[in-house]
Amino acid sequence: MSDVFPKWTNKLPLMVIVGGALVGGAMTMAVTHYVSPKYTRVGYQPIQPVSFSHAVHADQLGMDCRYCHNGVEKSWYSNVPSASTCMNCHNQVLKDDPRLALVRESYKTGKPIPWVQIHKLPDYVFFNHSVHVNRGVSCVECHGPVNKMDEVKHAKSLGMPFCLECHRDPEKRLRPLSEVYNLDWKAPEGTVPGEKFVHDWKVLPGDSCSVCHR
């Protein structure tokens, strides 16, 4: 009489354990890696209707962010500039360049340029730009080095852990108000200027739910 179970079945429990561990491990890795705003959002870089470059305007020309995003320190919303802002210069610079055709048309007709929005929080999150930039939180903390980007790219996850990480411990990430718009600024070696500001301005971002979900 032959065996009911062939010989290799002796190794079956081991195979199941090893196989299960491999599949389980791979699934866990895949989920932590892919089911996270760090994967779904970071790197989003849509093709914009006009090939506008922050590297040219903010870095090379040294323009201040507020020349164009002039609502950022006054309101929750950081506006994208209208075509008339571009035409302040482009009525002389690259006056007939085809890359700017859409800007000129928008300036003439008043029809907005359809910029694609990149950073977009869920509607159930309450956010405000002015509280942050007026308390020494620089654009670079949440948007990455925009002044070095030819096309703006979603650089940080902007998920809830990202916000909380700073709200629980803002010291290291605050800077003097005069340097908020200077994205290349680094704290002088060995100092934490933020400690002083947290104390002087009584900075208390808070991590209770009602701060961001109201």
């Binding site: 190794k11 195979m15 970071v42 008339s84 035409m87 210069c89 009525n91 509607d123």
Partner: protein
């Protein structure tokens, strides 16, 4: 077991090749699976809106109206002019010129004017190198002699090739910039008599 391992490795590799890693550039918008709370029926500024004919959520101001809280009087503070005339510019800044106003002016000048007029106001801003042919020199005696109200008016409405900044800069800040431009001019044409006695030699 061998087949299992081969299939396992191929699937893992396949997933990785298709999905890539965190931070890879993507031209497509992020996927939102249960988006009913994420995108609510609510309007955000600068978003398209099919309800209106011009498809804007943020509607433009109707011609001839004044937004709540914004300046509407034809007073010297608001227009830089006396009465209704076109060239009755006020000669001096009609608000108190203080140290804070001056610091504010310096900051605002750096944001809005420096790229064209240069840090000194001499018209040698960085844009000059890139094809900006005509840029006013703020140290020109003609402009030094202009009344303060006229410079305010230039900021608000622009002049020839310079566009107006009235929509972007508040009235207080425009006067602050005027004060700072005056300081730049003063610094450029200072004489020994302007120095405090102990520095004069």
């Amino acid at each position: 077991m061998r087949y299992f391992l081969v299939i396992f490795i191929l699937t893992s590799l396949g997933v990785f090749l298709i999905a890539g890693k965190q931070g890879d550039v993507s031209r497509k918008p992020p996927i939102e699976i249960f988006d009913d709370m994420v995108r609510q029926v609510k309007f955000r500024p600068q978003q398209p809106n099919r309800f209106f004919e011009n498809e804007r959520t943020s509607q433009l101001k109707v011609e001839g109206t004044v937004a709540r809280g914004s300046a509407y009087e034809d007073s010297p503070v608001n227009t830089g002019k006396f009465g209704g005339g076109n060239t009755n510019f006020v000669s001096a800044i009609p608000i108190a010129v203080t140290g804070t106003l001056m610091t504010r002016g310096a900051e605002r000048y750096a944001i809005s004017c420096k790229v064209c007029h240069g840090a000194l106001g001499d018209g040698n801003g960085v844009t000059k190198k890139f094809g900006m042919g005509v840029v006013g020199n703020l140290l020109d005696p003609v402009i030094v002699k202009q009344p303060d109200g006229q410079i305010f008016n230039t900021i608000t409405h622009g002049r020839n090739l310079m566009n107006g900044y009235g929509a972007n800069i508040t009235i207080q800040d425009r006067w602050a910039i005027v004060a700072y431009v005056r300081a730049l001019q003063r610094a450029q044409f200072a004489t020994a008599a302007d120095l405090p006695a102990e520095l004069r030699k």
